[in-house]
Symmetry: C2
Subunit: 503 residues, 2 copies
């Protein structure tokens, strides 16, 4: 029997554009966790950070931080899974305590990002994207934007309604952030402000994308009984390439991780009091709530419209403000989600932002473009409840086998446009704007290609050419200019040339 694992203490810095160096941020977060935990000796330190070498020019971070904490001697390792690092390092610490070999494990996750130019940061973050998709110019926002257009299409929403739903997610999370003293953005935004913000990658605007942030978070896990217990963990990967997936509008990595976490915690989605969901982009919050089993597929947007996910709703999502408003120091966000849930379960928050009667909380953290996701479930150890006899599988696990994919369908001549975007905030070295699309070829492959025209519609026939390593597409027999609601932004002559956006 593994040891049971509890949260002894938590702490975090304010998330912000900070003048402090990463080790200082981490030491501040750890000091707060020590003050909160009141535990004895720490016997293991685990550090979560994504791209510290590239962001700061320093390696050997695990030993470095242990030294800075005055814990030189204590073992220390670094754990990393791209943007889900904060949850993955928590998972590693969980196993160390559960194994019985460690009693009190200090976890610190952080990232220092704001000191670099945005295009450089975008490039570093894009290294998490599969090489061929990256070489076409796909950034995280570009891929998220294409997923959004596909979701809108499959859910049968008009462009206006989709934009309105995304605006509601952004406005909700900024409202929640306005109540959170640790949030990078502590101000509400209006619908006008949302619709006035610039395009990052059509149809995503600045207010749809999590900001670039500095910050650190610390948690101390212990085998000694405390109020907050770690009751479920799930972790799953997906194909690195988005084009190798069966679905663009649901993340298998979330569904598999959720399934494991619910199974381990012996809970069903209905029992969750609140969740922190990885809203690096507003549409990912909606997709996340569907993949977690809170709402049926392609129905999550309704919950947003109906206010179900607001802080006073039936199932508050991102009461912290989420990545969107709390900020997104990439290696730290997962652990910040866990800290928020721990605070909510303790029930000691300021009344305006306290989710009433919270007993079981969940976090969902996305690594890369949803290829290394983790779900973590915490519950109050004084919460006695009937264990469900029937635990509900979220989906058929037979669903999880990767398709065999050939990556060079060289005979491809034409296909159907599955989704597309126009990217304005291009990575370092790629001219803006750039149109990208996923094309389903006649023999069933999904390929990413650069677009040679701006009047596009999901489902239209396109012809594809290969030049060097890159694919290009253009429409076949369009039969005149297509305007699909947002058509005015799709036509090159109407696209205002923007300054590079702040993703």
């Amino acid at each position: 029997m593994p040891a049971e694992v509890y949260i002894a203490g938590v702490g975090m810095t304010k998330f912000s554009k900070s003048s402090q160096a990463l080790p200082e941020l981490m030491v501040e977060a750890a000091s707060k966790a020590f003050a909160d935990a009141k535990v004895g000796a720490i016997d293991y330190v685990l550090i979560g950070v994504m791209s510290v070498e590239e962001f700061t020019g320093e390696s050997n971070v695990a030993a470095s931080i242990a030294d800075r904490l005055g814990l030189s001697g204590v073992p220390s390792s670094r754990v990393e899974t791209a943007s889900s690092t904060g949850s993955a390092v928590f998972e590693s610490a969980f196993y160390a305590v559960a194994s019985g070999y460690h009693k009190n494990v200090l976890i610190i996750a952080g990232e220092k990002m704001t000191h670099l130019p945005t295009a450089r940061t975008t490039k570093i973050l894009a290294e998490a994207i599969e090489r061929s998709e990256r070489s076409h110019g796909a950034s995280m926002p570009a891929l998220a934007a294409m997923i959004t257009q596909k979701y809108q299409h499959d859910a049968g929403l008009s462009a206006e309604r989709m934009q309105s739903v995304l605006a509601k997610v952004a406005i909700k999370n900024h409202y929640n952030g306005s109540l959170n003293p640790y949030a990078q953005f502590q101000k509400v935004i209006s619908e006008n402000e949302y619709f006035g913000s610039k395009w990052i990658s059509f149809p995503l605007r600045t207010y749809d994308c999590a900001p670039i942030t500095d910050g650190a978070v610390a948690v101390i896990l212990t085998s000694e009984k405390k109020l907050i217990q770690v009751s479920g963990l799930g972790h799953a990967t997906d194909t690195l390439a988005v084009r190798h997936r069966d679905s663009l509008t649901s993340f298998k990595s979330t569904r598999l991780a959720a399934q494991q976490a619910y199974h381990m915690a012996k809970v069903n989605p209905e029992e969750i009091s609140l969740a922190e969901v990885h809203d690096a982009f507003t549409p990912f919050e909606i997709i996340g709530t569907e993949d977690l089993g809170f709402f049926p597929p392609r129905q999550g947007w309704k919950a947003v419209e109906e206010g179900v996910t607001s802080i006073q709703g039936r199932l508050p999502i991102n009461p912290s403000g989420g990545l969107k408003a709390r900020g997104h120091p990439v290696g730290a966000s997962g652990l910040a989600q866990i800290v928020e849930v721990a605070w909510q379960l303790r029930g000691e928050m300021e009344p305006a932002r306290q989710v009433q009667g919270a007993r079981i909380g969940l976090t969902q953290n996305i690594g890369g473009l949803a290829n290394n996701n983790l779900v973590t479930i915490l519950q109050r150890s004084d919460h006695y409840r009937p264990i469900p006899v029937y635990w509900k599988p979220l989906f058929d696990p037979g669903d999880t086998k990767p398709r065999l994919v050939s990556d060079d369908p060289s005979s491809v001549k034409s296909g159907k446009l599955e989704t597309f975007t126009t990217l304005y905030a291009t990575p370092e070295g790629i001219p803006s704007p750039l149109t990208l699309g996923f094309v389903r070829t006649n023999d069933g492959h999904l390929i990413l290609a650069r677009g040679r025209q701006n009047s596009l519609k999901i489902g239209q026939r396109v012809q594809v050419e290969k030049e060097g390593d890159l694919y290009y597409f253009r429409g076949i027999s369009l039969g005149g200019l297509i305007k699909d609601g947002m058509g005015k932004w799709l036509h090159r002559t109407l696209v205002p040339k923007q300054k590079e956006g702040e993703p």
Copy 2:
């Protein structure tokens, strides 16, 4: 009670300058481990790699490798502790199995380094060094060289005898490598070749330094009983800055890690049949064998002279050829040490390189400049032995508290030279040669400084100046040119200007 943990299978690529990319090397190593293990489903993948982002420009490596293996879906994390990454990722996998939450965990460690210019690689590796020491120009070989000079001084050896001992370590490890089909260097070297090799950082030559290498290693851990059991693990950090330590000639991180590992395995050093010791530099093998309790402090060199550590000796050290001859893909070396010990314990090696009757083996793996070290003990599960009643502490744990250090002894005017080196293979951007020394100031601080003269002797009085962030030193009242045995290399006019060395 934690689950017992066994090695189900192992595999590795030949270590070499390879034309393969890192994912290909990792997949090859994993395929061999699968073929060796014959286990069922893998439920967790852990990847060890040190500086993959900087070496290859790719992040998100854990998800990427799982995908390449056709294991997309399976959870995957990356673990990193600089050059001890290979052992640290093994440790994380151990806890995952010991916790009972995972049954079969695949560990892959690797590094791809040889495609970059040497000065660039040296610079990436130097990012593991404390910032101030690095800014003085200290590389890993420079710090190792100063440790070597101090060891020679404290052990009371002449420069000639020290050089002869280092030569013997290099010749022994190259001989062992000549028997190992996985080694980068499969040729014996003569004393003449050793003494003819160029200086990297005085008194270390090319043949004292592990090479730059590509390679990958895989191990599958399981909770199912197998022949090789993981019986001891130890892990400890030390101060990042070498100047903050009490001793330059013994690594507290090794001693603490060894103490934990012996304690967990309930063995004493006398019971170890063979060990793989982190010989990134030949003197580190000698210091390692002392810190591990095999030989008394400052006596390890005698064991080398007497042949005790040769493959047919009483305690074979680095029967694989060590980092020196097998090669040193930084993130992979620790796991390669573990694979060598597993093979030796199975007793199925080619007769010339089989350590006879091996029952318990140990690995020692250094992270950074000995600030994140791990010790791992494997034993045959069919080896029944009396558990010692008295387990022998290696040293007084009261010894492990860090000294309080102030890092800016701005009033420093003079001090005593503790050790020094002349570095020829300088990191990118620093002119060669560069003299560096550790100076003990009159108020007891140890500082790293650049030297302004070449005739130096350990223990001599020096004066120190600060210019910007850097310290400089020169001798006081030398009373004429000092020649201490190797004096002819110390004098600038006799130092041949070398091409940048291959460390």
